[in-house]
Symmetry: none
Subunit: 401 residues, 2 copies
Amino acid sequence: MADFALLKSLSIISPARIILLVIDGLGGLPDPKTGKTELETARTPNMDKLAAAGICGLSDPVGPGITPGSSPAHLALFGYDPVTCNIGRGVLEAVGIDLDLQPGDVVARGNFCTVDKAGLITDRRAGRISSEKCVELCRLLDGAAIWNVKVMVRPVKEHRFVVVFRGEGLSSELGDSDPQQTGVLPKPVTALNPEATATARVANQFLAQAKVILAEHSPANNLLLRGFSRRPGWPLMQAIYKLTPAAIASYPMYRGLARLVGMDVLPTGSTMEEEFRTLALNYEKYDFFFLHIKGADSAGEDGDFARKVAVIEELDSFLPRLTPLNPDVLVITGDHSTPALLKAHSWHPVPVLLSSPWCRPDKVKKFSESACIAGGLGRFPAVEIMPLAMANALKLNKFGA
Amino acid sequence: MADFALLKSLSIISPARIILLVIDGLGGLPDPKTGKTELETARTPNMDKLAAAGICGLSDPVGPGITPGSSPAHLALFGYDPVTCNIGRGVLEAVGIDLDLQPGDVVARGNFCTVDKAGLITDRRAGRISSEKCVELCRLLDGAAIWNVKVMVRPVKEHRFVVVFRGEGLSSELGDSDPQQTGVLPKPVTALNPEATATARVANQFLAQAKVILAEHSPANNLLLRGFSRRPGWPLMQAIYKLTPAAIASYPMYRGLARLVGMDVLPTGSTMEEEFRTLALNYEKYDFFFLHIKGADSAGEDGDFARKVAVIEELDSFLPRLTPLNPDVLVITGDHSTPALLKAHSWHPVPVLLSSPWCRPDKVKKFSESACIAGGLGRFPAVEIMPLAMANALKLNKFGA
């Protein structure tokens, strides 16, 4: 789907509320000893009750066989086509540290690097300096004003950082300064079209100033920029769905992604207790909540089957907190699968549970991968979850006469 | 799908016959007391027998979450992409009264309206005059010849009517005369491009003459036109499928839609008895029949669960009439769901049953929403029903070598 024009023309404002509860990395693979996945091993009486009364299915985040990263997987959940909705490398890095980008900002991903006396690159990652060192160096470079452009430099991790150029009329049509090899000089930033000439000049002036500042900080005695990009011009959720959406997520990446599609990112602690409290406290102010539970994915990536089971069980124990809120639509799903056996994201489709007074219940009695195969939602692309949630909240008008 | 070029290149003429039996608004939601939908409540021994021998599934008329109107839902059943195959407002209104439009006709939707002495609109709907009055006024305006253009004026209901301009070289690129507000003058019809100038002049001349004729018929003392459009230039079913198609439908809307895609609309009475007799009488002359059963949708819209059940049971009792005809493919489905609980069209997918000697039977033994979840057709877009029917009639050649 992702037919924004169609959804825009059909969506209406109403008091009905939707909660999209995303258990990161939910889908799994069976433990060979038991034949049961993490979700199937977990005791989940509350999700099972919801599954019995609701409708279930399996969704493909990007497409069958495609293992998604966190950003495309979440974009699909928000109803954005994960293949065509590209995010530039610089913006992705900024999103990952939850930077609040303005529409005109130009962002690049930065690496501290080591250069020799002739200026030739000897290490593109400056020996992977510590994250503390990165913070210190970014502080030295942050806040420059080059002509009318403000330059913000924010640390990410180890040698990685983000540079934001903020000013009027900037262009992101710029070539990288990172030559992606050692033994050569960093490249000057080039304008990829005439409109970008002034911005290229700003970037090169910044690089020249930074080189001077960093000279005495070997091994991080220079820097490289790549992936110049701008905040994508996608329509926001407010425009497509006429929702007032909020995000409750403790990891910066998910907060950043939620901002890109127009959500208010609510301040919250990182435990489930705190996230569910944030939801209850803000419940009157919004009609859409994206609630992100991170622990299952981390456990899967660590190959820790038992911990992933425990995270799912803990989450299940919080679901009765939603009962007094009585959302019109509750969707419980994952952004992708992260089987502990693979210790990585995977392509396996993700269980989806939709609970609403207007869903057509199926015969699924337990929320699990194998039960969802026979669910009434069938197997479907994750971008269709939002239209389904909107329909079940009676927030979509009839199409055509 | 709706890949007309592909289907055109593969379809062949053969004596095999297809019957597409559409139970309008077939899909439902369970009665909370019994947990069964209308279709699940109905005793349908004949459909169940067909389901057991055939293959079943669930189809989405437009897409998951999208509630379709009757026209997009039927276009999808005929294999036309319901989102890209748009029908102009004027044509839709003409279709709704089963007007036989020629390809060059320009059609507008009309409203009788009330204007004051200064000509300002005081009521855009002329106090919703009676349908009888509408017929009388349309007769006064019908049949004008303006230069070489014949103008037909046909009543719809209350203040609504249709104007057809028939002549050479007309254009529908015209702005509305309806300003969509009161307290202002009707707008002159404007040409939206230079080719439409002559047609705009004809339309304005018609409006001027009509104003004189209507002057003494207050509250319907003027008229407003909008939605100028032409019969869509879609390929007809004859071209795509090489079929000789016929429609058996008693409601004007469905007859009109069938005409738009090239079907011969057969004269018929409105009862199931009469529709099935029309089918039998014309069975030798066509190789495709669209048979439309309206009652289930009306009952659903009225919120009358029991009446919808009764309509489905009545229809089931007529199915043995098809046995002697021995169609090569019989498809039984709905255009969309109309759950009595919602008293409206809905987004829920629609049960589909395909019976043919060449289908691969599944384990579905009963024709119902919940049984179809496990059907061999899976969950699929309604536009794929026609290619499936064609294939099962052995009317599609192999693609590629």
